[in-house]
Amino acid sequence: MSEGTSNYWRKILALDEPVPSDFPKQFQTWHRFFRPWFYKIVSIPLKFYCPEKVLGLENLPSHPPYIIAANHGSAMDFVTVAYALGKRKDELYPLTTKLFYDRPQSLFWIKIAANAIRIDTEEDFLPALKIAIKILKAGKAVYINPEGLRTLDGSLLPFRPGVGILAAETGVPLVPVYLHNTWKVLPTDALLPRPYPVLVIFGKPLEMAPYQEKLKTHPAYEVYKEVTEELRNRILELQRLAAYWQGKDKAASLS
């Protein structure tokens, strides 16, 4: 049987290849100048218009590399998480397909403010995983929306197993994050944000050591799926916690 098939995955993902010392070579100079200003401006709506509350930030590993996996509600998801991280936002890198990265209007937002890294593909997931692995090996953190698509009604969509491959093969902690209400603030058809309170919950990281042990004796694909499923379950738990928290907040404001 195909037990312990991880070796081939490691070869195909170039996991053991060295990472160039200057990677990731992003817009560092522009970052330093523009990013603080961008987040100062963003902080105004996130304080007053759609006020952001953050829970569980102490669950974030004390230093990168780690992976943040959040549900996908809107185009503001990454900003919401980055803003919650405060000064540590600079260690976090989202990945963006060339479709979005190459649009002229994306210049400021995606390249400079969001720190995004371009994926040279639309359909093939291997290049995206290889870049994410390089980011992690360079000692940075990766931001992922495992659903791939934005939700239209707040429900959690099925997760794609790429996040499971990334976490299980690199062994870095996988932090589940639930973003509450971002789909209401900036739905896919909205031009302007709407005034809903936003809640960001950081869950306890999934440690990869047991899964890495399992990779030695089980088909890799099954282990990746298991990691992905466990991550989804953890985010569902955070979703329930958010619903409870929202109810508590409403009750407090009525009393």
Partner: protein, 80 residues
């Protein structure tokens, strides 16, 4: 010998994709007709790597769609 190899590969593919052997038509498109996703596709090659010690290079992955394609590739790599 060749038939044995073909049978072995078919059985291995069936186990990986969890489809009974008799339901795999060697000409059928694994992705379109048997619901194999791209990750499971790579897992087939990972299982072949484990069993035969053959590493299918990334650029060859995209052209493989049927069981017959896999068999031809394994033969080619085993002979090279």
């Amino acid at each position: 010998m060749t038939e044995d190899l073909e049978r072995e590969i078919k059985s291995l593919v069936a186990r990986v994709i969890k489809v009974p052997e008799e339901k795999i038509d060697p000409q059928a498109n694994l992705f379109r007709d048997l619901g194999v996703d791209s990750l499971l596709g790579i897992e087939i090659f990972a299982a072949l790597d484990k069993k035969y010690g053959i590493t299918v290079p990334e650029d060859k992955l995209r052209g493989i769609n049927t069981l017959n394609d896999i068999i031809a590739l394994v033969k080619e790599l085993k002979n090279s």
